[in-house]
Amino acid sequence: MSSIITTSIAAILTLFIFSFLYKDNPLYKFAEHLLVGISVGYIIGQIYRLGFISYVWNPIIHDHNYLYIIPTIIGLFYLGFVSTKTMWLIRIPIALGMGMGAGYGISYTFQTNIFIQLRETIMVFNHPGMGFWAIFANILLVIGVFTAIIYFFFSWKHEGAVGVLAKVGIYFLMIGFGASFGLTVMGRISLLIGRFLFLFKDWLHLISY
């Protein structure tokens, strides 16, 4: 019985959201605000249980690990925004977070997104046993990377040979955007299918698989 009620609530709220396709209306607004409110409430609950209780309350109160008090106090500095006099305190946890994040991240992020990617572009012809299409694809990849970078190279005016290469780069970018758009359409349709399957199958039981 409870599952019928909860499924019906979810289904009705789905229909409220769909009603926006006709025009903006109070039912849509109600569902939208409910979603925002519930999401924030849920996240606060989860962070309290899994963050505060697990990483602050239990270690300090139950395990008597008082070292945890230091990061807790630094974390509380985030609440400095409540007064203009204490606003500056926010800088401390932000600076620590940024410093730690940058320290951990910069080197590996560069390796992941730049160095390894670049290496795979340079070494692309060296793989043994490559067929014609693999070589062709790799040549295309190198041309694509090179011309797209040229397009974003603004120190020279895009004219003459540079202009031609930049134009080729634009075509590669356009193909990339087209692929992204096509995938976006597929993604949005998938969400619609998911909702329709929920409405017809889980709620109305009009179909069974």
């Binding site: 299918i193 329709f196 017809f200």
Partner: protein
């Protein structure tokens, strides 16, 4: 014709929404089945899991929220199903979205439950023939209810999260206990929490948790979603095959609706040198193909289509394959809209009308 094209270019968009709703609904009602030829990046991940040995471990990170459920939940279920049937151990975690905790739980517990139900189903059916038990069964309806209750309550109590409410008839429960039914069926075939799978739920800290798990999972995570201490579990404490860090994990699979695959690649693949695969929403998929070419990803599942591909490979139709008929016709409709829209634009431009 020209007039029709111009008229179509100016049609109220709500008619197009209605048309789209009809086109998506019809294949659902007709249970249209589309043949799917799995894509290479999906086959790569399938082959990787297929070639794992029993007791190998995969870590699935559920990094999505309910709005991406239609695309990513079928992937999760298909991957878990495959791993369970290969006797591969599964760990689940959610790092990016607190709201993913419930989705990951649903996928993991649901698939483990279905797996155990299939095995125990036969055993329980045989139990009902036992005279001591059969006297409690007065009707077919009661038998069905008992079966459901035993599956729902007793199995979790013994084999899953130990958080059962035990609503089954207490006398019957006592008989089942007395007959050591559960110890009889507790063979290696069943999937038990702490031995074959575990779920950590949402853990705040994101990159710090990823890094921490690289050195010591117990120290970093401490407890699982159900509140069990990890150190008490066989899979984390057995000296022969314990899971200590990423060295004991064959692949990390990130099911994501955001930028988390980048973080997993950065911290697990680049830093610790362990294989990473991902299943992403279609919107993001184009961003991750370059990482396949550089082998920073060993597999990629792309949206609902990726789920359908995987379901085809494991021969278990789910939400992914169910949606492929609607997906195909919706795409055809959109292609028709794009062509007609552009023709309408050109026609109105030619006739000197509005250009937009």
């Amino acid at each position: 014709m020209n007039n029709f094209i111009i008229w179509f270019g100016k049609i109220d968009r709500r008619w197009l929404y209605l048309l789209m709703a009809i086109v998506v609904s019809i294949p659902i009602f007709m249970r249209m089945k589309m043949k799917v030829k799995p894509a290479e990046p999906v086959i790569m991940l399938y082959d990787f899991i297929e070639n794992l040995e029993p007791m190998d471990t995969i870590l699935i990170s559920f990094d999505y929220s309910p709005d991406s459920l239609a695309e990513l939940q079928p992937m999760a279920k298909a991957l878990i199903y495959h791993a369970l049937n290969k006797d591969v151990r599964i760990l689940g975690i959610a790092l990016a979205w607190p709201s993913a905790a419930g989705l990951g739980l649903d996928a993991m517990k649901g698939e483990v439950h279905n797996y155990n139900k299939k095995i125990l189903g036969t055993v329980i059916e045989n139990l009902f023939e036992n005279t001591e038990i059969s006297k409690y069964i007065e009707s077919k309806k009661m038998k069905k209810e008992l079966f459901t209750n035993i599956i729902a309550d007793l199995i979790p109590a013994h084999f899953e999260d130990n958080k059962s409410t035990i609503s089954v008839n207490k006398k019957l429960y006592a008989i089942l206990e007395k007959q050591s039914v559960f110890s009889k069926v507790d063979s290696k075939t069943l999937k038990l929490i702490g031995r074959d799978w575990d779920y950590f739920g949402y853990k705040p800290g994101y990159a710090l948790v990823m890094l921490g798990m690289g050195s010591d999972m117990i120290k970093t995570l401490n407890t699982d979603y159900f509140g069990n201490e990890l150190k008490d579990f066989d899979m984390f404490s057995n000296p022969t095959y314990k899971i200590k860090n990423y060295d004991n994990i064959s692949v990390v699979i990130d099911l994501a609706a955001g930028g988390s695959p980048g973080a997993w690649m950065t911290y697990v693949n680049t830093k610790f040198g362990r294989p990473v695969a991902t299943g992403v929403t279609a919107v993001m998929a184009a961003d991750y193909y370059p990482f396949l070419q550089s082998k920073q990803l060993i597999g990629l599942l792309n949206g609902m289509r990726g789920a359908a591909d995987y379901e085809t490979l494991i021969n278990k139709p789910g939400l992914g394959l169910q949606g492929m008929g609607s997906q195909t016709f919706a795409h055809l409709l959109i292609i028709a809209f794009i062509i007609l829209g552009n023709l309408g634009y050109l026609a109105s431009k030619k006739s000197g009308g509005e250009n937009e």
